[in-house]
Symmetry: C2
């Protein structure tokens, strides 16, 4: 799926900031792509960027209207339709993270057909993929894996992209979830793909590349999560990573949505190497990313030092302390990637 920037961010009239979490993520990571926001009367979310009408955004060159909000049930309210149709008539594609497909509204479907614009439902996957082949491709890949869902895998991959690029390395974030697709303008929400094509879709997401190029692949779920491990394994096999970073949230006692305890970081390292070897025998860990949001500064530093020592790997909280130690390890293990094409 390809989403063309720059974007006009549409927030509708959602009732709180949390409903615009996806939109906030896009503005955080790609402020240069977000020309402005369009809100309807009563909207309680605010991205803190320029308010803009459809016509103004079109005049400034907006290519896609992003419906980056999540309201109850993921439904597209009828009273948003007119605004979406206006964006199409002004020449924009529309990309949505809602469950309701854009094309299920006849006015939207017909406007898109009439004007030759794309309707992109990021939560659904209509794209056809081949089944995965597992053949080793050129290029370097790093996958963020987790002890659980929602432990910072996307954030860690994006932080590595930013940090590597700042050092002149050739690196691209590769999205496997809906927010990531908006942030990078391409990718696939891998959990929406038909099961037979998980690894094939991932092979499409991070294709063959230059030997010095890093794809930083957004992980999903956990090999130890009883609901989603199948997705995580297909993603691991398709990404065939050379390197991986384990992401962890230390205060969680059970895995998200189920009653299972979290696995140890050691267990995750071990099973990731074991399963990942199938498509990349050279797979190795290069760091641990700990989300210390709920810990005080001293406690966070102590936990990170202890974790790093125990696993003999760089450990950090990417948000609090950055990812430089992990990039140092990447460069030590893969020195050829210091010479990637500077961006």
């Amino acid at each position: 799926m390809l989403v063309t920037p720059p974007y006009l961010m549409f927030l509708g009239d959602v009732g709180d900031q949390l409903a615009a979490k996806t939109a906030h993520g896009i503005v955080d990571w790609r402020p240069e792509w977000c020309l402005g926001q369009r809100r309807l009367p009563g909207c309680k979310a605010d991205l803190g960027i320029t308010e803009m009408s459809i016509a103004e955004a079109a005049a400034k060159g907006a290519r896609t209207l992003i419906v980056g909000v999540a309201n109850a049930g993921g439904v597209l309210p009828d009273h948003w339709t007119a605004e979406i149709v206006a964006a199409i008539e002004a020449g924009m594609d529309v990309a949505s993270g809602l469950h309701t497909r854009l094309g299920s509204k006849p006015e939207i479907r017909e406007a898109a057909a009439r004007h030759g614009r794309q309707l992109l439902d990021v939560r659904h996957s209509d794209q056809r993929f081949d089944t995965g082949k597992g053949t080793k491709r050129p290029g370097l890949r790093l996958l963020t894996v987790g002890t659980d869902c929602s432990v910072g895998k996307k954030y860690t991959a994006l932080a590595l992209e930013r940090g590597m690029r700042a050092r002149g390395m050739d690196a691209d974030f590769r999205a496997t979830g809906q927010t990531g697709v908006f942030i990078s303008g391409r990718g696939v929400a891998i959990d929406a793909v038909v099961a037979d094509f998980i690894s094939g879709a991932v092979e499409w997401i991070c294709p063959a590349a230059a030997e010095t190029h890093w794809d930083l692949v957004e992980g999903q779920g956990s090999l130890f999560h009883p609901s989603f491990a199948g997705v995580s394994l297909g993603l691991l096999h398709g990404a065939q990573p050379d390197a991986f970073v384990v992401c962890h949230e230390p205060t969680r006692t059970t895995m998200r949505g189920v009653k299972h305890p979290l696995p140890g970081i050691d267990d995750v390292i071990d099973l990731t190497i074991r399963c990942g070897s199938l498509t990349n025998p050279g797979i190795r860990p290069v760091g641990i990313a700990i989300n210390t949001e709920k810990l005080g500064e001293d406690e966070a530093r102590a936990l990170i030092a202890e974790t790093a020592g125990r696993h003999k790997l760089p450990a950090t909280d990417p948000i609090r302390f950055g990812v430089e130690s992990i990039i140092d390890r990447v460069l030590a293990e893969f020195p050829q990637s210091a010479n990637g094409k500077a961006r």
Copy 2:
């Protein structure tokens, strides 16, 4: 998905026996459900059962017309439509294993709506599932796993069902692939489910049951297959098997459709226990099923004896030598299941 027997088997005018492989499988395992076959002029496949018109089948009580053939591309030819519509008008549901959805033909869709009949596209999954919960359910479950795809996992599970029932045990085959769904009249083609719901769909397929009841769950793919391991892992977690049988084809040199070598039986046992423990800590192997079709009798017996000795498990070729040794092991390990409700 529920497919209601008895069936009228529709073969269209396919060009050879191989195209009717699915239909043959149904007749082999459920002869009592297959009232007859309906073929169009020029059909080269023959199930060896009574030829029957739509009207005759309806008069004998046929509830579902099974389109159990695979022609090039899985397409539904236009000249089959009239016969399918006639079956609907005679009161039958229609179930198809083709890629083309039955409802994509307006005449078929409208006839089904008019007569209130079901159109079942076994290769597609429109059913909604919850995500898997991984919570231990009552009842006993056995999963057939493989060193590769197409090594006899369905056949082994069906042979175990037949053998266990013959001993008065309470056992049901649980289908996870299209032929299996036709054979058992229920189930889900698990590789067609959206990735997020693999284990949840399997939890639906083999739900809570009596403590002495065996579900014999049809395996798919292999944890070591780079195209399909995600499906296999979600299936393992959702089935939460107490016992598993490893299925193997000893003459194969690379995994189906890819260039990877086959894993060892030991590797499969080890990784299945390791990953399966997440949802059933008591998981254990109870046998090895070897497809010796390409070996002579002496060679087959020698290989089976050697395999059994090496892994300290019953080994057999289910087709050639039956599955009694595996059932003996099941009863030794799970003596409570000897007292299942006799059928």
